[in-house]
Amino acid sequence: MAGSTPASATASAGVPASGGDRPRVGPWLEAWRRFRKHRLAVVSAVILAILVLGVAFGPLIWTVPIDEIDFSKRLDGPSWEHPMGTDDLGQDLLARILYGGRISLAVGFAAMFVALVVGVLVGAVAGMAGGKTDAALMWLTDLFLSLPQLPLLLLIIYLFRDSLVSVVGPEMGVFILIVVVIGGFNWMQVARLVRAQFFSLREKEFVEAARALGASKTRMVLVHILPNSLGPIIVAATIDIAAAIIAESTLSFLGLGFPPDIPTWGRLLFDAKDNLDFAPHWALFPGLMIFLTVLSINFVGDGLRDAFDPRRVKS
């Protein structure tokens, strides 16, 4: 019976199959090309860039002080002098939104970063180690999942606020505190995701091949497994940012967040909620800011996931 060696007699003489003139394209360039195809993601990336730049450099251009109380101009609608109107103390909303935006965005990204680092660490260790450590780490994750956020928020802010404030000043102190607290409560989903990815990728041939080639455990993780699980991590990251920004506004809802005179978007929205029917501009602009930021981050995340996930071929 004739052997079953495939009859394809192509002598793979080194030249990759698809001929043609395309230059060798590195994975990042490839990802960027696919990302460009996702129109909405590109538009959102632009919006995000505008928001971040606006918030970073806005206060330099729009130099109206953020807490100038002027009772004659209370609750004015948008006008040339105050493009986004004023609040009930006559303070200029555009200046406050730009100033507050810096903090809200920083909180969002920093909290997401904290959640990612912790999540990936826990997930990777659990994924690679398996057995006892895996069970222990997963027990810890379940534990954190079932803890109610609020009492812990109260305690942590109460325990550390004074010591931190004396060291780095009120605004920065509370900032670190909130980032750690929000970050500390959002890593569980990422950890679970990374662990699931590790379990599925660990069995794949290319990882075994790397092990066969003598790759050390860390090298396997960093070079082979992590890049492959980039897709879901990015998606989790984008949802984390959204959750962090919304969590910051809920903290203001309870008066736990930044000191009352620091106008983060969450705080502005909370202060304005009672005047929604009389002075809608006061609530709509911060609400719009939160919405635009979170929306664009999510679309960028969606685009990145398609870009980094070759399997999801876009027809």
């Binding site: 019976m1 004739a2 079953s4 060696t5 007699a9």
Partner: protein, 340 residues
């Protein structure tokens, strides 16, 4: 067309839209299958054989794929313009399909019996009980031991070979007139492969159906085919009954294929290195003009690249798409080294 001809693919062109433009996977293919006949379509992976097979039952995703031209006549009726309802009456009822990957072709969450019964109930409206009995009957037919019990088992409880038998049972459940088998044995190891091929032949004898077998293993072709179609880069380059094809291959590509089969029947002394066909399959984005094999053909001459060589009948039912076929056959054509 004669009553005998079941399936007649005429000038089929199937193109796929990609970021870089249209890939012309199948670019003008004519294949015919008569009642009770076994036709093998052979060629390297990427030559369009699987796409051709899947197009018969419209199993390719459209978009991104589309049938650009040509007809697929099933007992005289053209399938291409058929709408979903008419297609459904043909799928598994008239033409059964056997897939390549047994490990993933069965739905993991349903029992084997349920999946076979599903086809029967769809086409013959049997009750649940009757359909399951038929399924058990089919399992016995494909030599799966203790079918009455196994019918309630799940796919993951079967080995690769057994699963392929289930797929075959599923394809034959409604007693179709034609079976298209897309490389049914590639994913299996050698010993199981033989069993599956024997089963296929046995089924052919017993149920009198025709088989269109897609493979890239010349050994399988020699074993089962009555007539062979050789495809290269989306086109048919040679078609002939199995014996003359192996005895006197006319197209240089077919000759290359046959020469690359390791021969056990030669004496140890006559062994020489296996020959490989140099070069690579051309891009199907903008295929070269003229004969697509010219770049790798040892007998290539400038005329080859002038116009696409027609499929000429050079013997009883033996066609080849090579303008120098006769010269090569009589040994007059000198191998002019590999054309630029």
């Amino acid at each position: 067309m004669t009553e005998q001809r079941l399936l007649d693919i005429q000038g089929l062109k199937v193109h796929f839209r990609t970021d870089d433009g249209w890939v012309r996977a199948v670019d003008g293919v004519d294949i015919g299958v008569d009642r009770g006949e076994t036709v093998c379509v052979v060629g390297e992976s990427g030559c369009g054989k699987t796409v051709t097979a899947k197009s018969v039952l419209k199993l390719i995703d459209m978009p991104p794929g589309k049938i650009a031209a040509g007809k697929i006549l099933w007992q005289g009726r053209d399938i291409v313009p058929m709408r979903a309802a008419e297609m459904r009456a043909i799928r598994s009822k008239e033409i059964g399909f056997i897939f390549q990957e047994p490990m993933t072709s069965l739905n993991p969450v349903y029992t084997v019996g349920y999946q076979i019964a599903e086809t029967v109930r769809q086409h013959e409206g049997l009750s649940k009980r009757a359909a399951t009995d038929r399924a058990a009957e089919m399992l016995r037919l494909v030599n799966i031991p203790n079918p009455a019990k196994r019918v309630h088992d799940y796919p993951h409880q079967f080995s690769g070979g057994m699963r392929q038998r289930v797929v075959i049972a599923m394809a034959l459940a409604c007693n179709p007139k034609l079976i298209i088998a897309d490389e049914p044995t590639t994913a299996l190891d050698v010993t199981i492969q033989a069993g599956i091929l024997d089963l296929l032949n046995e089924m052919k004898e017993r149920l009198g159906m025709a088989v269109l077998l897609i493979t890239h293993a010349m050994g399988v072709v020699a074993e089962t085919a009555q007539r062979v179609v050789v495809m290269y880069a989306g086109q048919v380059v040679e078609e002939a009954p199995v014996a003359p094809l192996f005895a006197r291959p006319l197209h240089p590509y077919t000759q290359g294929l046959i020469r690359s089969i390791p021969r056990l029947d030669l004496a140890a002394t006559e062994h020489k290195r296996l020959e490989a066909i140099p070069g690579a399959v051309p891009s199907l984005l903008d295929p070269p003009r003229g004969c697509r094999f010219a770049a790798r053909c040892r007998y290539a001459i400038p005329e080859c690249t002038a116009a696409p060589p027609p499929l000429r009948e050079l013997g009883a039912g033996h066609f080849a798409a090579c303008i120098r076929a006769e010269e090569i056959a009589e040994g007059r054509a000198q191998p002019a080294g590999v054309a630029a």
